[in-house]
Symmetry: C2
Subunit: 424 residues, 2 copies
Amino acid sequence: MSDTKSPALRLNGPVLLQQLRELGEIGADPVAGGRTRVALTDDEKAGRDQLVAWMRELGLDVQIDRIGNIFGTLPCAPGARDAAGAMPRPLMMGSHIDTVINAGALDGCYGVLGGLAVARAFRDAGIVPSRPITVVAFTNEEGARFHPDMMGSLVHAGGLPLDEALDAIGTDGARLGDELVRIGYAGEMAPGTLVPHEYLELHIEQGPILEAEGLEIGVVENLQGISWQQITVQGNANHAGTTPTRLRHDAGYVAAATVAELRRIAVESGTTLATVGTMQLEPGVINVIPRKAVFTVDMRDPDEQRLTQSEARLADFLTKTAAQEGVRISTQRLARFEPVMFDAELTAAIEASAKRLGLSYKRMTSGAGHDAQMIARIAPAAMIFVPSRGGISHNPREHTDDAQLVRGAEVLLDVVARRLGAGQ
Amino acid sequence: MSDTKSPALRLNGPVLLQQLRELGEIGADPVAGGRTRVALTDDEKAGRDQLVAWMRELGLDVQIDRIGNIFGTLPCAPGARDAAGAMPRPLMMGSHIDTVINAGALDGCYGVLGGLAVARAFRDAGIVPSRPITVVAFTNEEGARFHPDMMGSLVHAGGLPLDEALDAIGTDGARLGDELVRIGYAGEMAPGTLVPHEYLELHIEQGPILEAEGLEIGVVENLQGISWQQITVQGNANHAGTTPTRLRHDAGYVAAATVAELRRIAVESGTTLATVGTMQLEPGVINVIPRKAVFTVDMRDPDEQRLTQSEARLADFLTKTAAQEGVRISTQRLARFEPVMFDAELTAAIEASAKRLGLSYKRMTSGAGHDAQMIARIAPAAMIFVPSRGGISHNPREHTDDAQLVRGAEVLLDVVARRLGAGQ
């Protein structure tokens, strides 16, 4: 294999790291730690303003669409227009800059600023790309204030009508469309205008696998399907000391038995992950049998058929247990996404770049949801992961070593350069 | 068996039912339903004042001790003094008149006003008893504001130092001793002064057994031991989508598995009851593995050895599961009472009276805690139960039919009459 990377295309690691730190200061909480830039708040507006300023410094053409997605485009040579005079579709890179509460500095931001670093490498080298390079920050990926999450990329991909998204009501009662206007990011471009030729998203793993296996790069070839449900069990409240076990209709027991069954489902399936993150018991008194239990179920599997099987096994268990215990169970679907297979050609390109740069890597599944899964509906897409220390994310302790962050961006640059023929 | 009941000793059912209704009006909540007379509040003071007025109407000698227990005594004949000139110990009946929040009208009040009804029968018949008859209302049985519950009877029986009880701080920050003074019920008599010759407590079952079996009277021969624990599981919060099952330290799963194990312990023991009434998960987010779970365990068994075995089985399960899941578990004991065996002679007397009055009955265990279990430390004690509709208590829907309430009090009167030789 020859060295095919242009010596002129060089990733400026220090600037990337400096921008990650600077963006991470916006919304920082000196007491609780981390930073909070929940979508369409004043702090997130400040983050958007900084990003737009950096895009303009690089001479990118900044466009905002009606859901607030920010696109910064490095144009290609005018001669690249097709026969009809249209510009080629852009090679797009990006992620999001909104955060959860008390977040780390890397989730999302690394993909956006990594994209900027690639554009910067082209600028610094004076190379005009063969097709436009667009860096995007999608609106409201986290869903911490407005549902659904991954909203900007979902609207961009045509999966959610714009008006419905604009009418989303936040946890604070605010309407999303009004908040976009308030912070000055209700753009004029129709969502979906900029359909990517290909889409690449650089991201921290947010899981423990790369670190545990001592690897530097994750070549993300697919993304798990996600099933979110809220389950409500209605039993009878009765005295803990006087109600024989056989006469109980214990909503809390049924909820707990379901959590235990979900662990069995996960272990026996081999691929399904199942998590119960929330549970409320009513009335919540030490000597009263719970009359009501409300809990959530998060199930994931990279294989749609196995995810469906695990959902069915859960439903069977609920039906059987409801009858045994004499309780009523209702289930509300909160979210459901089928697994996503990323583009084989793009993942092969990522693997080749990791190899070429002498980095250790593995092909892997993304456990978390990402904007790339929405964009995969309209264009070839793939993702590049770098390790997360301890698998920790959505937490001030989220961390990836600087050298690993730079290596991930170098892989992204190498892939882009080769896709655009600039490195050959 | 001859008819040994004096024709002159007659239970006045209408007055008993009227007093239950009147006392039940004090602290009534017309919106939420039920009534709230939490210990040593203004509403409970109003209930105490009403009770004392009724005692005085019957010519009872009212005494208040330093923990606020109210005693109303119908004296015996002066000639009943012993050789040393001391009056015989009283036959004592009673319970409590404090309530939980939005309570029924019967829990506790029925035992106190049933005792008054017995004293009234003696007064109405003009019979002077062979030993004093004392009706008692113990302070703070419910423990809704001040811990521990069953406090007045526990202090009376010498199981809790007076000063410690007076220093109890309520859920509202008030000191119990100060509240007693404020409402005018800090009496002067030393606790434990009036040691009963025998103690009888009439109470609603607060459980479903009598109703389910179509029986009128419960002859309570023992009271379950109670073990209350709070268990804290400390795991690691991690992303629900990216953390393989084998790498999880899921505090919520461990809590749920413990609830499921407690059901197995209950079923396999045959006698242990186990309830988890409260559970909190942290951080409580749908896609985050819980880092912390806090839950309570209420275990009861009429047999001390089996209760200890069930506690040990729970402890073993926690140790084993903590190691398997890689979590830390700590256990805090909140309360522990050994089972109480009531007095065999008194329970036989209750059974005989139920039979004599032609009532259906069964010997049974009290699942709930009662003042009688404390008084059993210092005197022969027993309890009489009447059915609770649906087993419901601590709730505005608590209900026992009037006819059943009257029959229970008639059993109490018959037992007292025979213990005092007045019915023969």
